[in-house]
């Protein structure tokens, strides 16, 4: 059964939609707000900002995170910055330009109205964060500093050294703690959402496992917000934190929420290359490094084992500058990543396994001096040196692309509500703003836009218009959801097989990286679609989860997450297989231009692919939301 996807985009001119919508939405009377309860799952930029703002408005909020403190959500690791169309640099930026850059960067696969709203709100986010005391970088005159970032020709990125995500998250976290102290938010750390509770077709709560006691309980509310981040860890090796997972959105998908564009994955070019089989994660270095670093590889294969300084200028191929003269080293992420892969595929990669290219600061250090480079990137250079034992002030860094962000996520309408009424989705967990590729410094912008400025309006509209009956813990739907989680947990503990959870996760990651990674084709995807179900079957037959479910059991937590990744991976491959075109991060080798660039097929694929669950034994059902571009002209993305 296909879905009735109604995007609820307001009528009227693009620039007026959001203002008009804010006026049209129903409001909840201030005295009534405290009668409504909202669950927020996740405490990153989107979750913490939403929970704090809901509480400020007067709603009764509960917030959940799997970490021991809401301040540790993975938004904290974002380094480079946050975009805003302030045009403080007088360099030609505007809301319209940020909107256009984001749509184009996403390879024309995002919804116009959502992206325009994001660009509009971007300016409010900076103001809000400054008021909270976020220590943004400043010029000597005391005004806010900016830098440029991949995919843009204006300087609109605000930053706090290489720790922008940390500082923005601490701003949101502190706002959240302020509301916890007031009693407006009940915070549940070390708590994992393991299922969604749907009653009479509406999201009315979640099933939560307390990680310390193992207690599995329902938590009920009038609306639920998922702000649980992306699913990049399906690849095992990614720049995500170890705990990042798909469980909240995947369980919601299985309860009826459509999953949009699952195959859109972003591979970030500037990561530290893999150095061994035991590797547990990949470390990203901010792509702001590409502002001053020049990317190159040896021209000749024979030179790859030489030391970098032994390779003369004439024997170096600055391949981004060569292929994309207009944007050069600042080409968008998908383009820069694929270019690095091609160079390595040609046998010109450097470092272990030939999977690396150089990112060289010698020219910038010569031009600006080491002190200036230290001021801009000091912490990144230190991090690189700590991990690799090489000094990037003296030798070029080695970098290679790694899975970083997932543009796909639960389908949402203009109000950020999923196909399950009452279930809202914010930040990386939804699909809404980045199309098939996200530009740098736009994830922080989207997370905070959703949490501070969009959901606080739209959730009120939902609560004011939905006719909600009281729900209690003994309702049959609630008891059934709790029983499902209980059963699943016991089942994981009961297999008592021989293989570790991590070994299954690694194997799944290899399959996904090989067949659904930076370049995909029908043959490989079909192979993955055979391998994944077989691996899943083996998992449920042979996984080993020692210990009990009645206390802190990190293996059990990991097992539940991997079980869900084993299902999600299949959907990603299915989506990648059906999308017979290349766009943004989705590169099908069968669909490329003669010079190897992504070749879209707008006639057939200018739509959002929304998949819905049709039962464990039936294939998922595809519904298409056509993308209508009324304000910009579709073109082949060119950064040349």
């Amino acid at each position: 059964m296909t879905l009735d996807l109604i995007a609820r985009v307001p009528a009227g001119p693009l620039a007026e939609k959001w203002d008009k919508h804010k006026f049209d939405v129903k409001l909840v009377n201030p005295a009534n707000k405290r009668k409504y309860s909202v669950i927020v799952v996740g405490s990153g930029l989107a979750g913490a900002s939403a929970a704090a703002t809901f509480s400020e408005l007067g709603y009764k909020v509960s917030c959940y995170c799997y970490q021991d403190s809401p301040r540790r959500a993975h938004s904290i690791a974002a380094q480079g910055g946050i975009n805003a169309a302030k045009n403080y640099q007088n360099d030609g930026d505007s809301v319209q330009r940020l909107f256009y850059d984001t749509i184009k960067g996403g390879d024309f696969r995002a919804r116009e109205a959502n992206v325009y709203r994001l660009a509009q709100i971007s300016v409010n986010i900076i103001d809000q964060c400054v008021a909270q005391g976020v220590p943004f970088a400043r010029e000597y005159g005391g005004l806010l500093a900016n830098r440029s970032f991949g995919g843009a020709q204006v300087s609109r990125t605000f930053y706090a050294r290489g720790q922008t995500g940390q500082q923005l998250l601490l701003g949101a976290y502190q706002a959240l703690e302020k509301e916890i102290a007031k009693g407006g938010v009940a915070m549940y750390p070390r708590a994992e959402m393991l299922d969604l509770i749907v009653v009479n077709g509406r999201a009315r709560g979640i099933v939560v496992r307390d990680e310390l006691t193992g207690t599995i309980e329902p938590h009920l509310a009038d609306a639920v917000v998922l702000a649980t981040g992306g699913y990049g860890n399906v690849f095992y090796l990614s720049t995500n934190a170890k705990g990042c997972n798909t469980t909240a959105i995947w369980r919601s998908y299985k309860r009826g929420a459509a999953f949009a564009n699952p195959c859109y994955t972003q591979i970030l070019p500037t990561c530290i290359p893999v150095h061994g089989d035991y590797q547990s994660k990949l470390t990203l270095m901010s792509e702001s490094l590409r502002n001053d670093g020049r990317v190159w590889a040896p021209k000749r294969k024979e030179d790859v084992s030489k030391r970098s300084i032994e390779i003369g200028e004439a024997d170096r191929d600055y391949f981004l500058e060569r292929k994309y003269p207009a944007f050069g080293n600042l080409s968008p992420r998908d383009i820069a990543s694929r270019a690095a892969k091609e160079v390595c595929d040609e046998g010109r990669g450097v470092g272990p396994g030939g999977r690396g290219v150089y990112l060289d600061f010698a020219e910038a250090i010569g031009r600006l001096g080491e002190d200036k480079i230290r001021e801009r990137y000091g912490n990144l250079f230190e991090m690189y040196q700590r991990i690799t034992d090489e000094n990037p002030y003296e030798v070029p860094m080695r970098i290679y692309p790694a899975v970083h962000y997932t543009m796909g996520g639960l389908w949402v309408d203009y109000n950020l509500m999923s196909t399950i009424p009452g279930l809202h989705v914010a930040g990386e967990a939804n699909f809404s703003d980045h199309g098939a590729n996200r530009l740098g410094a736009s994830a922080l912008m989207q997370g905070l836009a959703d949490g501070y400025f969009v959901l606080p309006y739209t959730i009120g509209d939902y609560l004011a218009t939905a006719k909600l009956e009281p729900v209690t813990a003994d309702a049959p739907e609630v008891r059934a959801a709790v029983a499902d989680v209980d059963h699943r947990t016991k089942r994981l503990l009961g297999v008592q097989g021989k293989r570790t959870v991590a070994s299954f996760h690694r194997e799944l990651g290899r399959i996904m990286w090989e067949h659904c990674g930076m370049a995909r084709n029908a043959e490989g995807l079909q192979e993955a679609l055979a391998l994944i179900p077989a691996l899943r079957e083996e998992f449920w037959r042979d996984v080993s989860v020692p210990g009990s479910g009645a206390d802190l059991n990190q293996t059990l937590e990991h097992a539940g997450r991997v079980a869900d990744f084993l299902e999600l991976g299949e959907l990603m491959c299915r989506d990648a297989l059906h999308r017979e075109e290349s766009c943004g991060g989705h590169f099908r080798t069968e669909h490329q231009t003669p010079d190897g660039e992504a070749l879209r097929n707008d006639e057939k694929f200018a739509y959002v692919a929304a998949w819905s669950h049709a039962g464990d034994d039936a294939p998922p059902v595809l519904t298409k939301e056509p993308l209508v571009f009324e304000n910009i002209k579709l073109s082949q993305r060119s950064y040349k």
Partner: protein
Amino acid sequence: MSGMMNLTLRVWRQAGPDTVGQLTDYQARDVSPEMSFLEMLDVVNEGLIEEGEVPIAFDHDCREGICGSCGVMINGVAHGPVRGTATCQLHLRSFKDGDTIVVEPWRAAAFPVLKDLVVNRGAFDRIIQAGGYVSVATGGAQDGNLLPVPKMDAESAMDAASCIACGACVAACPNGSASLFTGAKIAHLGHLPQGQPERYRRALKMVAQMDIESFGGCTLFGECMEACPKSISIDVISRMNRDFLRASATAGDEREQVGDG
């Protein structure tokens, strides 16, 4: 691969908050010097799971030194032998083949052990709740550039704001004091114009909460600064003390407000 190492780990195992713990020996065989300390624990844990044993519990998440989840005592030193480095960013190249390494949880009255190397750091969140914020609600903020902040003030604020709340300062302190953590937040906000309206009230309330949480007093040993993975300077403690003293001495009204807050 050359240079593989064999290490003996002496790890604190404790089944739960109310049980007695003890040190247990494990062998980490054929581990690479390029591995991170936590990757080495992963390898040991996978071996334990394959034997059907319960693996060693430890907190970790980002593994890039910024989330503050991880942190253990390594041979009695918080986050181990390399300065300015969180446990996840420590690599085995800092150890020698054949070494015996003692791995314990943070030891502090305010951080009770939950399991093995995992402790409860909820007290840090409650210190922030007491006043580690600027009281502005979402919306209504003026344009960011209407409030110029001298570059040096912004840099000083950022130095303090880089705290990751891992708890190493508390674990390293002979008194189990949280002064570096608390001082860092007070300094972050106190260096900025946005933090001024609540500056003294904030100092009073956060220091009071520190005492409630059974952290020890600060006697300026400086061990905290040595252990801090972000190398936050002990100057933030002096600054906290100045703000606290000034608030205590001059702000009688403020104290009353704090009392009923």
